[in-house]
């Protein structure tokens, strides 16, 4: 397979006007044109200018990713689109809340693991924990994988938030 049609995972950062319907435009673009959304995170990041930042993790071949960028750029309320995977060095973090129920050895092991992963206990009952963990997607995947045999009950994840390294802003 040539690089042209190799499926890659890219993180796009999209700066938009925080106006009604803007998220629907972005999501509709992805579903309407058959693009993938692996995760999507959005919140207002500038309350003076009413701007939101949408972080989208998507899968596609390099030409597809270029096309996604161009299509996003075409939306009227979109200010900028940056492909953090290729255009700069970046850091990416995700937050997950992970509920694990169990007793005895499993419970002890879950707590020990959470310390190794620097997860925090944000809720505890005699037979359950809710861990809060942040990290990149692989780290969170790994933690959840380890919790499975230890009584994993449910997971809530935010999807990735990402930003470029260094002093420049997008």
């Amino acid at each position: 397979m040539s690089a042209e049609n190799q499926i890659e995972r890219h993180t796009l950062s999209v700066l938009v006007d925080n106006e009604a319907g803007v998220l629907a435009r972005v999501i509709g673009l992805f579903s309407g044109r058959g693009y993938n959304i692996d995760s999507l995170t959005v919140a207002e990041v500038d309350d003076q200018e009413h701007m939101s930042r949408i972080t989208i993790v998507t899968l596609g071949t390099p030409p597809m990713i270029e096309q996604i960028k161009a299509q996003l750029g075409r939306l009227v309320p979109v200010h900028r689109v940056v492909d953090l995977t290729v255009e700069c060095e970046s850091v990416e973090r995700e937050l997950a809340l992970v509920k694990v129920a169990g007793k005895g050895d499993a419970r002890v092991e879950a707590l020990r693991m959470s310390e190794a992963f620097r997860a925090r206990v944000v809720d505890a009952t005699p037979d359950s924990f809710v861990f809060e963990i942040t990290g990149n997607t692989e780290k969170i995947d790994a933690f959840i994988g380890l919790m499975k045999p230890l009584g994993l009950r449910e997971v809530s994840r935010t999807g990735a938030a990402a930003i470029s390294r260094g002093p420049e802003a997008m």
């Binding site: 938009v16 006007d17 009604a20 319907g21 629907a24 435009r25 509709g28 309407g32 030409p63 270029e66 096309q67 161009a70 299509q71 750029g73 075409r74 939306l75 009227v76 309320p77 979109v78 200010h79």
Partner: protein
């Protein structure tokens, strides 16, 4: 302090400030305040259509024939949903349009109120942008923005959805200023480095071709002028898409005719064999390229487009220039002249020799019939008898549309209105209404099919009401001919639901509407009948009875390449279409 107006007045004032003279619309409960304002002023004329789809296509015809923005006004719910086809059509063909829709009052939104529809939700994917006005203080700005977005960059339709309470509310009005939109700033000038690279490719081309499209028309008459100059200067052959017809004069010998699925033999072969392709304002649509892996396999490609997302979407190109056609052509010409480029005369001569060989194939030749009217003949005669008049042509969708593109000849831009991207049957009559509103003295003809016209036939009533002397020239083959052709080629001649059963008597129908009906059934009477049509002062429905089983050639069957065209005299029709090809539309 700004002047305070109510919402309906703000709408009218902004339309006036954007130079709007005509709007196409249909009233209803949710737009009554705006209609009341229309009633009380005189600078804007409202054209009452018979169906909201008609309003949108009329606005498209108006826009395409003038270069101005088409304006539509419809009510909430069904008014808005009826407009969806025309909005999508305008989006696909990049037609500037502002469509104002009424909405139920703000406090009722979301409650399934009478005639409530989520108009911005429904029209989000079929507009360039849309707005729901929730605050009267935003209305003036949104109206101005709507016109800016619709008419600049790659043009397209914009919906402004205005709840009824906002139409009554008082708010400020400020004039449209050259406000710089925060995020929307289309690029007009092309990158000079890329332009220089393009000129270098052009300078060294041995088998070049210009492939142009609707972008030239959208860019304005100046783009056509610059294109003509550039093509003349280079001596290169030129072809164009369906949407680009008229940007280069068809009478010129460098013109190869339209390319694509029903394009000419010479245009498609030249595309296939070219070494440098200069795409200006076209988008490598599938009707043009045929199967992508066999598309112009030995060529370097230059692509000029104002929409960055058109670049490398379907076809990877070697030099991409994002910008407006006229701006880029101007710069290209300047570089070309200042570099004192001289094309490779020898290579070009032998390229033209090859092209003349393809031209000699006379791909548009067809068997004449002494008695019956062949559809190609009908368009040829229509052309001969109207070419010296100030004529505008619209079409419906089907075989007749392709015959119009092949046999009617265009010398100037903005004279040809057709639904290219969406292929909307029913486009032609309302589009003709819009064109005629903009050009009351001109000869406006819809080259139509008997099936298509029945989709928006009611707009003939609009034409009668406003004394718009449009001519509906129906190539009546009693079939959805294009469907029948595909069934003949791909489905064993099983003509499933493609016969036009129970047709109305079009002459009587015309008379019922208060228009004139004319019928021609033999080749002998055709010329006189066409002359009568032209001389009739009011709207005419012309029922031109043509041979029923004619196929539209040349044709690139789906899944095939440019050099695998079928011609009218190809041996039989037992073509091999791959299963993959059959699955294409």
């Amino acid at each position: 302090m700004d002047k305070q107006l109510n919402g309906a007045q703000i709408v009218l004032q902004s339309l006036q400030d954007h130079g709007v003279e005509h709007i196409f619309g249909y009233p209803g409960g949710a737009v009554l305040p705006i209609y009341d304002e229309i009633f009380q002023q005189e600078s804007i004329e409202h054209i009452l259509v018979r169906h909201e789809q008609g309003a949108t296509h009329a606005a498209e015809g108006y826009a395409r024939s003038t270069g101005k923005c088409g304006v539509v006004l419809v009510t909430s719910g069904p008014g808005a949903t009826n407009a969806v086809t025309g909005l999508t059509d305008a989006l696909m063909d990049s037609i500037p349009m502002v469509c104002i829709t009424g909405q139920v009052p703000t406090h009722l939104i979301g409650g399934d109120a009478f005639q409530e529809a989520d108009t911005v939700g429904i029209t989000r994917p079929c507009t360039k942008h849309n707005y729901l006005v929730k605050d009267i203080n935003d209305l003036a700005r949104i109206m101005h923005e709507a016109f800016q977005v619709a008419t600049t960059g790659r043009p397209g339709p914009v919906v402004v959805d205005i709840p009824k309470d906002i139409q009554f509310a008082l708010g400020p009005y400020m004039k449209p200023k050259a406000v710089k939109h925060k995020s929307y700033q289309p690029q007009l000038k092309g990158d000079m480095a890329a332009i220089k690279q393009a000129v270098e490719l052009i300078a060294n081309a041995k088998k070049p071709i210009f492939y142009t499209g609707g972008g030239i028309i959208n860019s304005g008459p100046q783009a056509s002028q610059l294109l003509r100059e550039f093509v003349k200067l280079t001596g290169f052959p030129i072809t164009s898409t369906l949407m680009g017809l008229g940007s280069y004069p068809s009478a010129d010998k460098q013109w190869l005719g339209m390319l694509g699925m029903h394009g000419t033999y010479e245009a498609n072969w030249a595309m296939h064999d070219c070494d440098v392709m200069i795409n200006i304002g076209a988008r490598f649509d599938d009707r043009i390229t045929g199967t992508l892996d066999k598309f112009a396999p030995n060529s370097k490609k230059i692509h000029v487009d104002i929409d960055p997302s058109s670049i490398n979407k379907n076809v990877m190109v070697d030099v991409a220039i994002v910008g407006d056609c006229a701006h880029v052509l101007e710069d290209m010409l300047r570089v070309y002249k200042s570099d004192a480029v001289t094309p490779d005369k020898k290579a070009l001569a032998s390229w033209w020799e090859e092209i003349e060989g393809w031209r000699d194939r006379k791909c548009l030749a067809y068997k004449k019939d002494a008695k019956a009217i062949k559809p190609q003949y009908a368009v040829e005669r229509l052309y001969e008898l109207t070419k010296d008049a100030d004529t505008y042509i619209t079409t419906e969708v089907g075989q007749h549309q392709m015959w119009a593109a092949q046999y009617y000849r265009f010398e100037d831009p903005n004279r040809w209105m057709t639904s290219g991207g969406l292929g909307t049957m029913g486009y032609g009559i309302p589009a003709a209404v819009g064109v005629q509103v903009a050009h009351p003295k001109s000869l406006v003809i819809d080259i139509a099919g008997e099936a298509s016209v029945q989709m928006t036939m009611q707009e003939i009533s609009t034409a009668v009401q406003y004394r718009l002397p449009i001519k509906i020239f129906i190539l009546n083959n009693e079939y959805m001919g294009m469907v029948r052709q595909w069934q003949e080629l791909l489905h064993g001649g099983r003509y499933s639901s493609s016969y036009s059963e129970a047709l109305p008597d079009f002459v009587k129908l015309a008379e019922a509407y208060g228009a004139t009906g004319i019928r021609a059934e033999t080749a002998a009477e055709l010329d006189d009948a066409i002359k009568r049509m032209i001389d009739t002062p009011g709207p005419v429905i012309f029922d031109c009875i043509v041979t029923k089983d004619e196929n539209c050639f040349p044709m690139i069957p789906s899944g095939a390449a440019h050099n695998e065209m079928l011609l009218a005299d190809s041996e039989g029709l037992d073509i091999e279409v791959s299963d993959a090809g059959k699955a294409l539309v």
